[in-house]
């Protein structure tokens, strides 16, 4: 076991997968000579060379499409998009091509790309660098969308994604790259599907994904001091969603809250609450609550930014509301 930062975990997964299989390549802006904006590919350019660690021009739609073309003929590209906001430029090749090629070809031609991208607010990056957009990808048939909450999943899910024949979108978070966790020294893989109970509880289920899992964990600690036992569920995969684990948890606690960093309309929370209502409505003892961002583009002003984005305190207050304490 070694304490490993999120970015180091991603770097290790790249390194192992590239050493294991010559067909694995990585591509993106500044990932090679410069080592990557978040250091996720640092040192790999010297080890694997410019043909396998590819510094691309600023052409998100086409370099994603080039990864797709390469994947259709046997390569295993890991495509880095520097910020999920820039992935909007690659929506055509991701949604019209990657998600549909295997289907349109009647199952003949797989498109096994991995797209990694950080999605979330950091520190005053303003409206065009702070969007989350997970909800946009999770609504597309043909894609997998995963949201590793820490180094263990960041490493293990990237390795599984490289070996999956589906196009996989991995949504990371600017605020998590330096998050540390002990991870095993020996190689391991983490599944691309399945939610995980990261804290057991009996009174309320707090559901999060990506960074919001940490908000839920912090809120759960405070709730414990109030005598409320909160269970925390990390969705891990937004596409497909693990309905079974959600249902079991809600049937146990009879109360639920879902926390997303994104704006609420047509979002992750809306989908999760729909699932709860469809699958276990009669298990609910209280009205569910969504914790989400204000319905504005993320403000630049520091105080406003903080106010617009959900905090651990918002999750805590939301849980008290579900519990009928406020």
């Amino acid at each position: 076991m070694a304490e490993t930062a999120y970015w180091e975990a991603i770097r290790r997964a790249h390194d192992e997968e590239m050493a294991n299989d010559k067909l694995v390549i990585a591509m993106g802006e500044d990932i090679g000579v410069a080592g990557g904006t978040y250091k996720a590919t640092s040192g790999l350019y010297d080890k694997y060379g410019p043909e396998r660690i590819i510094d691309t021009p600023i052409s998100e739609n086409s370099y994603t499409g080039i990864g797709i073309g390469a994947s259709m003929t046997g390569m295993r590209p890991i495509i880095e998009i520097m910020s999920i906001n820039f992935a909007l430029l690659a929506l055509d090749t991701l949604i019209n091509a990657a998600a549909k090629i295997r289907y349109m070809s009647g199952g003949q031609i797989a498109c096994p790309i991995v797209m990694r991208t950080p999605g979330g607010t950091a520190h005053q990056l303003a409206a065009q660098h702070s969007a989350r957009l997970a909800r946009m990808f999770m609504s597309t048939s043909g894609l997998r969308v995963v949201t590793p909450r820490g180094p263990l999943d960041a490493y293990g899910m990237l390795k599984s994604a490289v070996r999956s024949n589906d196009p996989v979108i991995i949504i990371e978070h600017e605020q998590m790259y330096n998050l540390k966790e002990d991870i095993p020294d020996e190689e391991f893989f983490r599944p691309l599907e399945g939610a995980e109970i990261v804290r057991e509880g009996t009174d309320i289920t707090l559901i999060g994904y990506n960074y919001s899992v940490h908000l839920c964990l912090q809120a759960a600690q405070r709730l414990e001091a109030d005598g409320i036992s909160a269970e925390v569920l990390d969705l891990r995969s937004l596409k497909p969603l693990d309905r079974e684990t959600i249902r079991k948890s809600v049937e146990k606690t009879h109360r639920m809250l879902v926390a997303e960093e994104d704006e609420a309309p047509v979002g992750v929370g809306a989908e999760i609450i729909s699932i709860v209502i469809e699958d276990c409505f009669y298990a609910l003892d209280a009205q569910p609550v969504r914790i989400h961002a204000a319905d504005v583009p993320v403000p630049y002003n520091a105080k406003l930014e903080k106010a617009a984005i959900p905090s651990a305190d918002d999750v805590y207050q939301g849980a008290l509301k579900v519990m009928g304490k406020i």
Partner: protein, 350 residues
């Protein structure tokens, strides 16, 4: 070029014309739906280019790709069944007219998003370059596609990394219903490639032998490892953009203006409220099929009996394809799901 190959090329052009005309009829009968984009008039490009390619080369095409698929060797039965949306179509009925794929024949798809072919083809070129094989990828697109951002993005990367991509512009002078001078500041499409130092030329796309030769020369260069090549073929579609489009946007005044620049359009009676018949088209101008037939005839390669046999042969092939498509079963929703669910562990890919 030997006689046998010339006759094969004429056969493929005749098959292409007969297949597409029949597809139009089947659309009228309701057996084919959706958007159906037909190729009559442009046959010399697909036939000339693809007969110059090797079976190991990859093809990436547009939504007007039935003929590329047929010439590449996908059986007419399989293409027609796909147009009918049937289970025995080349994509099990999931692709349809605009999305034909055939992995074995390295036919890497028809794409209905204009400009999406460039990055896909360039990425396939990346794989070839990584493997250091004497293969190439041929990327088809129309004149309307050159104003997409992906054109510039992908040409830049193909040139930057010396990738084995042959960019083939089928310039039929119309972006759906907008004539090229109204959609492009630089209507000589091939000139744009020089912005990326990609060797480019313009060739008569109605002359299948010129198409074949230009393609062969370009592919030889590509196999020498000198990076991408670009050819603009000037051609013309005799029909509207799709079956949903009667082509009435080509008014007489515009056609007259256009005719001054390009003799090919003299062939087309645009202002007619209905499509010109095959006879009218043949009588009017330099149809690529007639051009090749005349050439073969003059060279002593083609007797009228052989021509009649070829025509009868393709008519039978098309008839059989429609029969096959009609009898083929419908796919189920479970088949659709099976095409999408694909995380089956590592597969050996092509």
């Amino acid at each position: 070029m030997d006689r046998e190959k010339l006759i094969t090329m004429l056969h493929d052009m005749l098959l292409a014309r007969a297949f597409e005309e029949r597809a139009a009829e089947e659309y009228g009968r309701g057996n084919i739906a959706g958007f159906l984009h037909l190729y009559p008039g442009e046959e010399a490009v697909a036939v000339g280019v693809l007969h110059a390619a090797e079976p190991s080369d990859y093809i990436v095409s547009t939504y007007r790709e039935h003929v590329h698929a047929l010439v590449r060797g996908i059986p007419a039965n399989s293409v027609m069944a796909e147009l009918f949306g049937k289970k025995e179509g080349c994509c099990r009925g999931m692709g349809g007219s605009m999305h034909l794929f055939d992995r074995e024949r390295r036919f890497m798809g028809g794409y209905a998003i204009v400009g999406e072919t460039y990055p896909v083809a360039t990425g396939i070129g990346y794989t070839i370059a990584m493997r250091d094989l004497p293969e190439a990828v041929i990327c088809f697109f129309g004149d309307g596609a050159v104003n997409q951002g992906t054109f510039h993005e992908s040409l830049n990367m193909a040139a930057l990394w010396d990738l084995p991509v042959l960019f083939v512009c089928e310039n039929n002078h119309y972006q759906i219903g907008t004539e090229i001078h109204r959609h492009s500041a630089v209507p000589e499409v091939y000139k744009r490639a020089c912005g990326y130092h990609i060797p480019a030329r313009k060739v008569d796309g109605m002359d299948v032998l010129a198409v074949h030769q230009a393609t062969q020369e370009a592919l030889t260069q590509i196999r020498n490892g000198t990076g991408p090549q670009f050819i603009e073929f000037e051609t013309y579609r005799f029909r509207g953009h799709s079956m949903a489009d009667p082509g009435s946007y080509r008014p007489r005044v515009e056609v007259k203006a256009y005719e001054k620049e390009d003799p090919i359009t003299i062939a087309i009676a645009e202002s007619l409220p209905v499509y010109p018949s095959s006879e009218q088209i043949a009588a009017a101008g330099p149809d690529s099929i007639d051009q090749l037939a005349t050439h073969l005839d003059q060279a002593g390669h083609l007797s009228s009996e052989t021509l009649a046999e070829l025509k009868a042969g393709v008519a039978e092939t098309v008839e059989a394809a429609v029969r096959f498509a009609t009898e083929s079963p419908e796919p189920s929703l479970a088949d659709a799901q099976a095409c999408l669910d694909c995380n089956r562990g590592m597969e050996v890919l092509i």
